[in-house]
């Protein structure tokens, strides 16, 4: 097994079509706008655009999604730099130094650093995807149902442990998500479960409408509920200021100084991205914090450090390749966007995992190449439009809400021309809103719905093969290691809180 040069050549030759390049740039353009608008996230953009791309050729569709995703993460830094509001959660640390630089009259340089180091982070992580995906996929050839069950369990446990502060709430939602995934036909025996005579439920709850609801309508509802007009007025005033931006490109000397740290941040971000549930925000915070620790000028961090901004920019785009590696080789999403991409691949009749490197190897090479092209596209577009990007910020939030609401309805219907999907989206939107207000982490719920089927079918299949012996999960080495990791993941918050208590007592 392995992707040969002939497969790469065939994949790349199909990419060099005008339609692919057009959709890629369209995706980058839409992604830049989504990322630059506070309140619109990459996840929301991908969730809304995914049903639309189903009407395209798979390569065109993925070109648009890859362009959108990569550009939205980089463009989140634009608002962080110009109005001190991260456009996406991943750009949180870019506001620490980027806005300070803008106020010092170095806004252009900050925007340039954002584009260049986001590109470097994205390229290094994509390189890791290209180099490491095949060996990891080869390793999974030895996996059988026991390993896949444990793998899904590990993904879920990580999501519960990492995605939010409240482990109990995360656990409840993770379990509820898996429970909802049992709706439909039993994967082993074909028995109808909880369908209530509704044919729409035979195939289970559609995943994409749930994502559109949670990250589209749900997010709009939350923003309406938490609207702060005084802050909005402040932001409008900040946008009017229009300080001088200055030069965009850093000097050769600056680049030479920044490169080593940017590369290290990219590598670390790639590793963090590969861990299920650990997204760009976690990566950026870890890299920025460690960058400060090991910097020659830690005192500048948070006050306009070009180095800090470069590290943050590399760290948030650096996670994408890592997340894609986990998603494509193991079928476990690294973050919410890769969860939607799994749904996308499934709709195209592909299953993430080993089959992506055998039956669908050509498409896999195209996805990897599209990641590279998306990075190049946003580098070109980002540098050319750095000085006018501030204009995108002048769109009022209610304008966005009105558009997103209708696009969520249209997108969820367009998936299967089915009104039932719209109802699912609407229900998921209300749930998403309530989860956000009452601080229930949505990640475990989504992963529960997505991985529930994998979890159940593989566990039961493993037990069928072992004649009902649960020892199969312990006697197989990889399964046993994953089981230990699952246990440790759940024990970690308990140990952490016990240690915290001890420290307080002391």
């Amino acid at each position: 097994m392995g992707i040969g040069l002939d497969v790469w050549a065939a994949g790349l030759s199909e990419l060099m079509q005008p339609s692919v390049i057009m959709f890629l740039f369209l995706g980058v353009l839409v992604g830049t706008m989504i990322g630059a608008l506070p309140g619109l996230s990459a996840t929301m953009g991908i969730a809304i655009m995914t049903p639309i791309t189903f009407w395209f050729d798979p390569v065109d569709g993925f070109a648009m999604l890859m362009g959108l995703w990569n550009a939205a993460i980089f463009a989140g830094g634009i608002t962080a730099i110009l109005i001190n509001t991260p456009g996406t959660p991943a750009s949180i640390t870019q506001s620490f130094d980027g806005y300070a630089l803008y106020k010092q009259g170095k806004g252009g340089l900050a925007l340039g650093i954002n584009v260049i180091f986001s590109f470097i982070g994205g390229m290094i992580s994509t390189l890791a995807l290209i180099l490491l995906a095949t060996p990891i996929a080869k390793f999974t050839v030895t996996f059988n149902s026991a390993e896949y069950f444990m793998l899904a369990g590990f993904g879920l446990s990580m999501m519960v442990a990492v995605s939010g502060g409240d482990v109990l709430k995360g656990l409840i939602l993770g379990l509820a998500g898996i429970l909802l995934s049992t709706i439909g036909l039993d994967p082993i025996l074909g028995i109808k479960r909880f369908t209530f005579g509704n044919v729409n439920l035979l195939a289970g709850i559609s995943f994409i409408p749930v994502m559109i609801g949670m990250f589209g309508i749900g997010e709009v509802m939350y923003q309406i509920f938490t609207r702060d007009k005084a802050q909005e007025a402040k932001d409008i005033e900040a946008r009017k200021v229009n300080l001088a931006l200055g030069k965009v490109l850093p000097s050769k000397k600056e680049m030479k100084e920044l490169m080593p740290r940017g590369i290290v941040a990219s590598v670390v971000a790639t590793i963090i991205g590969a861990i299920p549930a650990a997204g760009g925000d976690i990566s950026a915070i870890i890299c920025w914090g460690n960058g400060k620790k090991f910097s020659k000028h830690p005192e500048e961090y948070g006050k306009g450090s070009v180095e800090g901004l470069a590290i943050s920019s590399a760290a948030n785009n650096g996670v994408l390749g890592g997340a894609m590696t986990t998603m494509m080789t193991l079928g476990i999403p690294g973050d919410a966007v890769t969860a939607i991409l799994i749904g996308s691949l499934t709709m195209y009749g592909m299953q993430p995992g080993i089959k992506m490197f055998t039956e669908n190897a050509k498409f896999t090479t195209q996805i990897m190449a599209l990641m590279v092209l998306a990075n190049i596209a946003f580098l070109i577009l980002g540098l050319l439009t750095a000085k006018v990007s501030a204009k995108v910020l002048n769109v009022a939030q209610p304008t966005v809400w009105a558009a997103v609401t209708i696009l969520c309805v249209v997108g969820s219907y367009a998936l299967n021309n089915n009104f039932f999907d719209v109802m699912i989206m609407f229900a998921a939107g209300i749930l998403g809103f309530l989860f956000k207000v009452f601080e229930f982490p949505t990640g475990p719920f989504i992963l529960g719905i997505l991985l529930g089927g994998m979890l159940e079918s593989n566990m039961r299949r493993a037990l069928v093969m072992s004649n009902g012996s649960y020892a199969t999960f312990i006697t197989r080495p990889v399964s046993c290691v994953l089981l230990i990791l699952v246990v440790l993941t759940f024990l970690y918050p308990v140990i952490k809180s016990m240690r915290k208590k001890k420290t307080v007592e002391k």
């Binding site: 109990l168 409840i172 509820a176 509802m221 209610p398 009104f419 159940e456 039961r460």
Partner: protein
């Protein structure tokens, strides 16, 4: 009587969700815990039983935690929040009316019904978000045209519900 905290209510709702699935599983004879086809191998009810019981237990734990010490308020209802809540409820109500109107009128008027509903709903939303009539009308026209051109003309999707 002491008011229940948000966590306690959420815990009770989770328990109700788990109990519902447990009852639905228990009352369906096909969903057995152990499969009838081969010994010791889980049946169709294996996962639903375990998960619904786990959700009930965890929901119970959240309820107890909420009742014991967690009296935390997640939402501070300031006058602005109250106003926002009104806008939110009107948005949701508008969405329900929009979806209902689309579903009811589509069998008679097909895709045209959807386009009219989109147009009216966009005006409603923009007015709700305190935009001017002029803005609301222009926005609704442009957005409806966009939906028509992209989805009807571009992708040949008809919104016949």
């Amino acid at each position: 009587m002491k008011k229940l905290s948000a966590d306690a209510i959420a815990g009770l709702l989770c328990m109700a969700f788990g109990i519902f699935f447990l009852i639905m599983t228990a009352t369906n004879p096909q969903l057995s815990f152990i499969a009838t086809t081969s010994d010791g191998v889980p049946g169709g009810g294996f996962f639903p039983y375990i998960l619904s019981i786990a959700v009930i237990i965890m929901g119970g734990a959240l309820t107890v935690r909420g009742m014991k010490g967690n009296s935390r308020k997640y939402v501070e209802m300031t006058p602005e929040r109250k106003k926002n809540l009104r806008v939110l409820l009107l948005t949701v109500a508008g969405l329900i009316v929009f979806l209902g109107a689309w579903k009811i009128t589509a069998p008679y008027f097909g895709n045209t019904a959807f386009m009219v509903c989109v147009f009216l709903f966009e005006i409603y939303l923009n007015k709700l978000f305190e935009r001017t009539w002029k803005f609301a009308l222009i926005y609704a026209v442009i957005f409806t045209a966009f939906i028509y051109l992209v989805f009807n003309m571009g992708f040949s999707i008809l919104f016949n519900a």
